[in-house]
């Protein structure tokens, strides 16, 4: 029974992957390419946020850290002359290191406190981009970020990134997304994933079976931030223009909305959420002004009537009461030391 389920899932994932590779075969319009690139990048950010939520904490510094990845990557290429292909992993690494600084003071806090302290320190970082024109470019940000260097395939012509076609960007973001999702999935199934679940379910009990809670929390936060850095890097070199306002709290809320409506219980939740909302925004193009309102309403309705999100509705096995899900979203509220 379990195997049959697993096999259907595998086939489904494989099919989805193949289809997503074939999409440029159906349409190459820059409009649609842009939408999909947006989707792939957003999925990386949302899925990595969900990875963090899986351990019981909601971070409001996640999107600013994506911004850090963007700025880092752009600066590495622009100021140090590195190739994008080197800058991308380096940006992820540097973002991970910086996230240690951001999250370290937040570790003693949990729940809402963590939420707001992560926001506070993320905001400090973001304000630094606004304040320091050199090297961050101040409120106007960085412009003319170079696109990735061409990939030379021996025997064939090279793949050029530039203004001519979005297709290379499409595949770049798609491959990065698949890579990130693969890693995030494996991480969740690994021992780290079960430890994360334990911490989420009960900080106190986790301590008392010998789990060094704060250390694992930090590991998870750093890993999640690395993926945010990857997303940021791709974003920077795709849009060639980044400003501090691109990563303000509103975007963080959007990502949280994608994750919540999609469902934080399941790995596929963020994917569903992102796809839903991006297509929704396109549908609402004629009344683009109302997009935040619609988003807000959908969030309100989802939280009220199906707090597990869309993927949570497919849960048939366990009797998950609404209280249990909300408790999961809240994190456990025991007065345990976080260290």
């Amino acid at each position: 029974m379990k195997d049959r389920n697993l096999r259907t899932k595998c086939i489904g994932v494989l099919a989805a992957t193949v289809i997503s590779f074939l999409i440029p075969g159906f349409t190459q319009s820059p409009y649609w390419m842009h939408i999909f690139i947006n989707i792939w990048i957003s999925i990386i950010v949302t899925a990595s946020l969900r990875f963090i939520i899986n351990m019981g904490e909601w971070s409001f510094a996640h999107v600013p850290l994506m911004g850090m990845g963007a700025y880092t990557s752009a600066l590495l290429v622009m100021k140090l002359g590195l190739s994008f292909w080197l800058a991308l992993p380096l940006a992820a690494l540097i973002t991970a290191v910086i996230s240690i600084v951001i999250y370290l003071p937040c570790l003693p806090t949990t729940g809402t406190f963590f939420f707001f302290s992560s926001y506070a320190f993320g905001e400090v970082m973001r304000l630094c981009w606004i304040k320091f024109k050199d090297p961050f470019g101040g409120p106007a940000g960085l412009i003319l970020i170079p696109p990735p260097n061409p990939i030379h395939i021996p025997g064939f012509s090279s793949i050029k990134f530039g203004y001519l076609s979005k297709i290379p960007y499409y595949y770049l973001s798609l491959v990065c997304m698949l890579f990130s999702l693969f890693l995030l999935y494996r991480l969740e199934k690994s021992r780290l994933g079960s430890i994360a679940e334990a911490i989420r379910e009960s900080n106190l009990l986790s301590q008392f079976v010998g789990i060094k809670v704060w250390r694992y929390k930090m590991v998870i936060l750093v890993i999640g931030s690395a993926f945010a850095g990857i997303a940021g890097s791709i974003y920077a070199h795709y849009t060639t223009l980044i400003m501090p306002v691109d990563f303000y709290w509103g975007l963080g809320v959007y990502i949280i909305i994608y994750a919540t409506v999609g469902g934080t219980r399941h790995f596929a939740g963020p994917i569903v959420g992102v796809i839903l909302f991006v297509f929704l925004r396109e549908l609402l193009r004629p009344i683009v002004m109302y997009v935040p309102l619609v988003y807000g309403l959908i969030l309100a309705i989802t939280l009220t009537f199906m707090p597990e999100g869309l993927t949570g509705l497919t849960e048939k096995f366990f009797d998950r009461s609404k209280k249990g899900e909300l408790a999961k979203a809240e994190g456990t509220n025991e007065d345990a030391t976080a260290f």
């Binding site: 494996r186 991480l187 199934k189 690994s190 021992r191 780290l192 079960s194 430890i195 679940e197 334990a198 379910e201 009960s202 106190l204 009990l205 986790s206 301590q207 008392f208 079976v209 010998g210 789990i211 060094k212 366990f318 009797d319 998950r320 249990g324 408790a327 999961k328 025991e334 345990a336 030391t337 260290f339």
Partner: protein, 263 residues
């Protein structure tokens, strides 16, 4: 059955422990020893500081004064995970479990300290790590059978009955393979039938070589299995000795507000 020969080896030494919360002194100049291999009962009226004693031993709170020695090493004020690594673990008075995880998942996590799966290995699902994971799962199943939870294997903890949750709580405390186990009111709110099951479990645990300290209000049940008893009242030790002695001890009877000690 009480063991006749208790080794006089103190595995835990409580020396002049004091714990204050603001102006309230919860533990006051408390001293006693726990002998290796015994089942030690801790009783006392509500508010005597019994749970706080456990909290202080296991590092949840730091004592304001005094020292604690475990197997000769000073463990006063150590953080919880260090205390667990040293070999002491505890269960909690009110259920502390992972509400949405299944019993089996609980027990696999319980073995966290003694699991050898390497991180990278489990990340990529190497065959070696999978074998190790299987070994841990086997250990978890063994523990599950030991405490009598085999029928509840895949049930999420929040769906378990009270009695099973209690067994699971005890099982979680066994995962870190402690030498000293602290049980906080394991029999509270249990039917007599279930209480007997838990009592048998405690005996089984001791027979495996684990020293056990048990806080309980149900003295009738407790006195059936413990070797010695310590009585606390308002943070002080007011009596120490064999169950039969405690039953007739005047101080103890007075401490329980003049009522006869419930046997």
């Amino acid at each position: 059955m009480k063991t006749q020969l208790l080794s006089n080896n103190p595995i835990l030494e409580i020396r002049n422990i004091e714990k204050r919360f603001g102006g309230l002194t919860v533990l006051n100049d408390l001293s006693f020893n726990v002998c290796q291999g015994e089942i030690l009962g801790i009783i006392g009226p509500n508010g005597a500081g019994k749970t706080t004693l456990f909290d202080v031993i296991t590092g949840r709170y730091k004592p304001t004064a005094g020292t604690i020695f475990f197997k000769g090493k000073d463990i006063t004020g150590l953080k919880p995970h260090k205390v667990i690594e040293a070999g002491i673990s505890r269960s909690f008075q009110l259920e502390v479990l992972f509400p949405n995880l299944s019993v089996l998942q609980h027990l696999i996590i319980a073995y966290h300290l003694h699991t050898e799966v390497s991180f990278l290995g489990s990340l990529f699902g190497t065959s070696r790590s999978r074998k190790k994971a299987k070994a841990t799962e086997a250990k978890a199943i063994e523990l599950m059978n030991f405490v009598g939870l085999e029928d509840q294997r895949d049930k999420p903890a929040s769906n378990l009955s009270h009695g099973y949750q209690r067994s699971l709580g005890i099982a979680m405390a066994l995962g870190p393979k402690p030498e000293l186990l602290l049980l906080d009111e394991p029999l509270s709110a249990l039917s007599p039938k279930r209480a007997t099951v838990i009592l048998d479990l405690i005996r089984k645990i001791r027979d495996k070589g684990v020293t056990v300290m048990v806080i309980e209000h149900n003295m009738g049940a407790l006195f059936r299995i413990c070797d010695r008893v310590i009585v606390l009242s308002v943070g002080r030790k007011i009596a120490e000795g064999l169950p039969d002695e405690i039953k007739i001890n005047q101080e103890v009877i007075k401490a329980y507000l003049g009522g006869a000690v419930d046997v």
